[in-house]
Symmetry: C2
Subunit: 219 residues, 2 copies
């Protein structure tokens, strides 16, 4: 299995997985449905699996994302990202510093960093992050230990502070996705809007439509 080349990174609709939210079918079925509905990027986030099981899951998910020519990003574990041939790794503020991950991975991997302040955004940009996850934009039930929400105004400030792609996450749904795009985000990331949906394909379609509509108006 060779890594399929992802020519252009499309951050529009970025799914972050959470197997605990999967109520409607298997975890992988939901991701497959979401991909068929228009998800452009998938991040595998596993906080409780050992490395062996995490790697097996990552390989399995990579076969799926490869079929859709969509990049797979691994949360936190650079070694798992390298081991499964993922397109990238996503680092939180409590994970390995971006500059060190860049030194190890070189340009082989897309590196994303979660930020919630201008200072963190500038630091991650200086450390050669490829994109920033702005987290949280709104308050969210998925994560409870997160900083104060950035909000639309905060997102606009962040947009002016850095030139690299911004993916907004936290409390985003089809109703507010357009506001996020108009504020300057390159994409939106969702967890529960898709993972906990009883119709993940439809959820993805609706989110993607809202994003594309907002992008077409912004252009």
């Amino acid at each position: 299995m060779t890594a399929r080349r992802i020519n252009r990174v499309d951050y529009s609709l970025y799914l972050v997985t959470d197997r605990n939210l999967a109520r409607c079918g298997s975890f992988e079925d939901i991701v497959a449905e979401a991909l068929s509905g228009g998800v452009t990027m998938v991040q595998l986030r596993e906080k409780s699996l050992g490395a062996g099981a995490f790697l097996r899951e990552a390989r399995s998910l990579k076969e799926l994302t490869d079929r859709f020519c969509v990049p797979l990003i691994i949360n936190d574990r650079l070694d798992i990202a390298l081991a499964c041939g993922a397109s990238g790794v996503h680092l939180g503020q409590d994970d390995m510093p971006c500059a060190i991950a860049r030194r190890i991975a070189g340009r082989k991997l897309i590196i994303g960093v979660s930020v919630s302040t201008i200072e963190e955004a500038l630091e991650a940009t200086a450390q050669e992050a490829d994109y920033l996850g702005i987290s949280p934009v709104f308050s969210t039930p998925t994560k409870t230990d997160t900083p104060v929400p950035v909000g639309i105004q905060g997102l606009m400030h962040l947009r002016r502070a850095t030139h690299i792609p911004l993916v907004a996450i936290g409390g985003i749904n089809a109703a507010n996705a357009a506001d996020i795009v108009r504020a300057g985000a390159d994409g939106i990331a969702v967890v529960s809007s898709i993972m906990a949906s009883s119709a993940p394909r439809l959820a993805a379609v609706e989110l993607r439509s809202a994003i594309e509509e907002a992008k077409s108006i912004s252009r």
Copy 2:
């Protein structure tokens, strides 16, 4: 800070850390005492820290082990091992397969694998492990979810099954260390015998003496 070259790997007395056992002074003070008492190898084992804190701890410990010209091995996380310039990584049966870690790290890192059966030992040897951790040799209070103890007989069988260095772990103390060495182990690994000791330097001295005496008789 460049990685200091470790010319010869001496597995004789291999300390596996557990910060929760440190009762007598700080975690690093105990490791320093143990190193001054004759520990020849240190494995940093962290099961609850995030990657950022794990990496900071690894870097700090590496400065210490470098001062003693002793290799630092990182438990489980190959990425942390690469990031801190450790000498190696130690993999459990539930961690990343050795062959994949070898593909990523090449010959830059010592790779150790925990095994408890002949089958696992042969598999890890085939996957180019540099040494095997035989675990547990005796029953131990440190880990509760471990396989049936290998015992002295089992250790002797394992010694005949593979040519690579064997480090025995589990319930080893100064009283039984010599038996382990006579059964063919290249070294013994300890957690609580040193980490929970009120006199870690003395504990290391006694263990090391028992090992050296047994080795000198075996030669």
